[in-house]
Structure formats: C-alpha cells, structure tokens
C-alpha cells in the first residue's frame, strides 16, 4: 500500500510541479501569478480532442496543433489580461482579477464548444507492471517518466542555455537585462508560451487517467499554485519539491485518513507555509517584492 501511495503521489506530484513551474515562469518575467493556468491545461486537452474528433486529425498531430494553439492563447492572455493592467500601473495587482477572469472566459468558451460532458482520451500505452508488491499501469509510469524528462529539460533550458539565463536575467532585473540587449518583451512572450506548454502537457498527461471536460483545470490551478508557493515562488526546485510534497501528502491522507480530504491538502499546506515561512521552502525573500 505505502509503495503504491508513493508511486501515485510522485506521479501526481510531478503533474502539480509542472503546473507550479508554469506559475514560476510568468512570476519571473512579469512578477504576476497567472491564475488562468489550469484553464490552459484544460484547453490543450479539449483542443486535442476537438482536432481529433471534428477535424479528424490523427492524435499526434491533433496534440501538437492543440499545444501550438494553447501557446498562442498564452500570448493572447498576456496581451489582453496582463499587459494593459501593468501598462496602466506597473504596481497594480489587478492581474489577480484579470487572469482569474480570463480563466473563466476560457472555461466558458470551452463549455460553449464542448458542452459540459466528459470526453475520453487515449492512453500512451496499455498493460500493467509489477513493482515489488505494487501493481500499476504502464501508463502511470509513462506519465512519470515524461514528467521527469520535462523537468530535466526545463532545468537544462533555464540553467544551461543562454535563453534560459536571459529569462533569469529579465526576472532578476528587467532594465539590466535590456541593457545587455535582451528583448524583455520577447522573453515575456516566451514565458507565456512556456507557461501554456507546461500546463498543456500536464493536462495531456493526466487526460487519459481522468476525464476531459471544461472544468478539469480549476482544481489544478489550486494544486499547482500550492506547489509553487509551498516550494517558494520563483524557485524551480521549490516547485518540484512542493509538487511532490502535495502529491504524496494527498495520497497518504486520502489512503490512510479520508479520501474526501484529499483536495484540501494543498490548501492546508498553503496556510501552514504562509504562517510558518512565507517565502516557501526554497524561496528567497525576493518573493516579497511583489
């Protein structure tokens, strides 16, 4: 049992970490938290389904196209919900409302296009494997493996490419970055694309295990946010650790105490961390700048 809880917890935690990393990317470049994040997760899934069902595209193409559209929607979000707010007043915090609002718009668009019913989503692989005394589906391990690869790629991108260093530079000091010839506008757009892709891929990974519907993203916003804040906003390691902590704690509480409490775990961690250590586990005080 414990082993199974850990496997499930790590897998789900990885998904939360991806969403949490998405929170970080826009926090770095724009100093905002994008509360529409979960809706991007939903958008990628439903768009894939739409392209497959109604345009009759094969799944791989439908998924790539859906991710591209989701990324484009990320750019739209910056243009309509974030830039006007920050342009009007860089210290304004209206983005809390505008990103939440944009999320609601996306959700309602999805309801218009897809209705409130659920849709199936194909698995990557069938079959079951035995891991010590736990039996799990191969799909679950595939999700975990892809998550690990993504996190590693994200780390390489941010820490080992000039573009990644430029993102960090913009995050640290926008003017100083501009003074090096870094186009901070471009970096901001890149961060929106990254945000949308991280959320979108997270959605595509869980879609076969849960059901796809317009409301699937909302809870993921809460959990990804919990992961990001728990780990410390802006810290990639923090988002990953935060995601894993939330994911594993959920499974343990759901399994040993009460499944009904599962979804509340993220919020409970948020409360505790805010009282005990507002900058999060791995955060620097820099988070207080916002």
């Amino acid at each position: 049992m414990l082993l199974l809880f850990l496997i499930l917890g790590i897998t789900w935690g990885g998904i939360y970490a991806l969403v949490g990393l998405g929170f970080n990317t826009t926090f770095w470049t724009l100093r905002i938290l994008n509360f529409a994040q979960g809706e991007y997760l939903m958008a990628a899934v439903l768009l894939s389904i739409g392209f497959n069902r109604w345009v009759n595209l094969p799944w791989p193409i439908a998924i790539v196209l859906a991710l591209a559209v989701t990324a484009a929607l990320g750019l739209v979000l910056e243009r309509v919900a974030i830039r006007p707010v920050l342009q009007h007043d860089p210290r304004s915090h209206s983005w809390v409302v505008t990103t939440l609002g944009a999320g609601i718009v996306l959700q309602n668009l999805a309801v218009l296009l897809f209705g409130t019913s659920e849709y199936p989503f194909p698995k990557l692989m069938e079959g079951v494997v035995q891991l010590l005394d736990a039996r799990v589906e191969k799909q679950l391990l595939a999700v975990f493996a892809i998550t690990v690869v993504l996190v590693v790629l994200f780390d390489i991108f941010v820490n080992r490419t000039l573009m990644g260093k430029a993102i960090k530079a913009v995050a640290f000091d926008r003017m100083a970055a501009e003074a090096q010839g870094i186009n901070s506008r471009g970096i901001v757009m890149l961060s929106m694309i990254l945000m949308a892709l991280l959320a979108g891929i997270a959605g595509l990974l869980i879609a076969p295990m849960v059901s796809a519907h317009p409301y699937m993203g909302t809870l993921m916003t809460v959990k990804g946010f919990s992961a990001a804040v728990l780990g410390g906003l802006g810290s990639p390691v923090g988002a990953i650790v935060g995601g894993l902590v939330v994911g594993i704690a959920e499974q343990l509480v759901g399994g040993y105490i009460n499944p009904g409490l599962k979804d509340a775990i993220g919020l409970i961690f948020l409360f505790v961390i805010l009282i005990a250590r507002p900058q999060g586990l791995f955060g620097k005080k820099v988070a207080e700048r916002v």
């Binding site: 000039l162 530079a169 000091d173 003017m175 090096q180 010839g181």
Partner: protein, 238 residues
C-alpha cells in the same frame, strides 16, 4: 572626422517630468568624456537614452553619423554601444561567468565560445579573476563594479557608457576601478563617464559636460571646465 556620438537637442520626459531638455554634445572617438552634475541632474537619463533604455521625447542621437534615436537597445549594442548601469545591476542570482556571457547576448548564442571569451575577459580583471563560478550577488561592491564593466565590455563596444562606477565604493576600491578605466582608455576605448564627483572623472577624462537640472550648461576640455566658476555653481546652486 565626425564624432563617434552626437546628441542633438535631446529631450526626455518621464510622464510630466522633463528630465532632459534640449541637450546637445558629442563624444570624440578614442576619448574619455565625462558627464558630471549634481544628483538628479539627468546624467543617468542621458546615458540610458543613448543606450536605448529610455525613449527620447525629441531630438536626435547619432552614432558614427547614423541616426539611432528610434533603434531598440539590442540594435545599439550590436552597433557598438554598451552601458554599465548605475548601481552595477549585475544579475545577482547567476554566476560571474553567466553574467559575462549575458553581456555578449546580442553577439553570439554559442555557449562554449561565449564561455571561453568570458574566461578571457575575467582574466583581465584581477579583482574578480578567480570568482568565475561564484554567484554575482555574493561579490563585494568593488568586485561587482568590475563585473559590471567587464560585462559591458563583452559586447565589444566602440562606445562604453559608465554610470557612476565609483558610487558607494571605498576610496581604495575607487582607485582600482579608475585604474581599470584608465587601462581601457589606454587601449583606445571611447568612454562616456558619468560621475557625481567630478574630481575622479577629471583625472581620466579629456572632455567634460556639465548637466544642471536637465540642461547642459557647460562643455569643453577638462582643463577649461575644471576652472570655470560655473562648475562650482552647478553643484552648489541647486
């Protein structure tokens, strides 16, 4: 020969505040020109406008005879203008080497080549030569200033804008930084040097410009400006 840099009636506004009013001066190739004035006179605004970090309200900025007034910062860097900002503004959460590589952002995206060049650049700055892997935020003030200058040099500028390199440094470190500036000048780098404390600037500069409340009130060879009674007024009469 046309001057390397030329400002023609440049004005800059921050909203309603007119930080620069019709400023004109030029910088000759191979020289150090210093821009001095009291705190808030508009010195940083001037160099930031030249670097393309602050938009001009009117006037023209010419570099090598070419109008760059509307070009983005990245284009100006590519053309050969580089700035070490006031307050160093190094990327504190990245290593010294990473900071240097970012200085060459517009020039190349080849990481291994950039790393090699960054290491070469580092070797030229004894203050930080052995600090390559250290996080820049943990450097001392003088080391950070050296890094800021080194980073600005990574783009191989024809014109280097230095904004108050001595700010907040202990006198002994100021000497070290000015030694660096002098060495650069000896190698033929053209520098526009912003200083609040004219005494330092005069030691290395050939020409001087004095800003007062956003207006240029005095310009000429250091020897003349130094003895002009208006210089004292620029600092005292605010």
């Amino acid at each position: 020969m046309a001057p390397l840099l030329q400002l023609e009636n440049v004005s800059v506004k921050y909203g309603a505040i007119e930080a620069l009013r019709e400023v004109s001066f030029s910088v000759e190739e191979g020289s150090i020109t210093c821009l001095i004035g009291a705190n808030g006179a508009g010195k940083s605004t001037t160099v930031n406008a030249i670097a393309g970090l602050v938009p001009t309200a009117s006037g023209r900025i010419l570099f090598q005879g070419e109008d760059i007034t509307k070009l983005p910062a990245s284009r100006r860097i590519a053309m050969g203008i580089s700035i070490a900002l006031e307050g160093r503004k190094i990327f504190g959460d990245q290593t010294v080497i990473d900071n240097l590589m970012l200085g060459a952002y517009t020039r190349s995206k080849n990481l291994s080549k950039l790393r090699r060049e960054a290491e070469e650049m580092l070797a030229r700055f004894p203050l930080i030569a052995d600090r390559g892997q250290q996080l820049a935020g943990t450097l001392s003030g003088g080391q950070q200033q050296a890094l800021a200058i080194a980073r600005a040099l990574m783009s191989r500028p024809k014109l280097l804008l230095l904004d108050e390199p001595s700010l907040g440094l202990a006198p002994i470190l100021i000497q070290e930084i000015y030694q660096i500036i002098q060495d650069l000048a000896d190698q033929g780098t053209t520098i526009l040097l912003v200083e609040q404390f004219a005494a330092y600037a005069f030691m290395v500069s050939q020409n001087a410009c004095v800003l007062e409340h956003g207006q240029l009130t005095l310009a000429g060879p250091v020897a003349e400006v130094r003895d002009d009674p208006r210089l004292a007024r620029a600092y005292l009469g605010k």
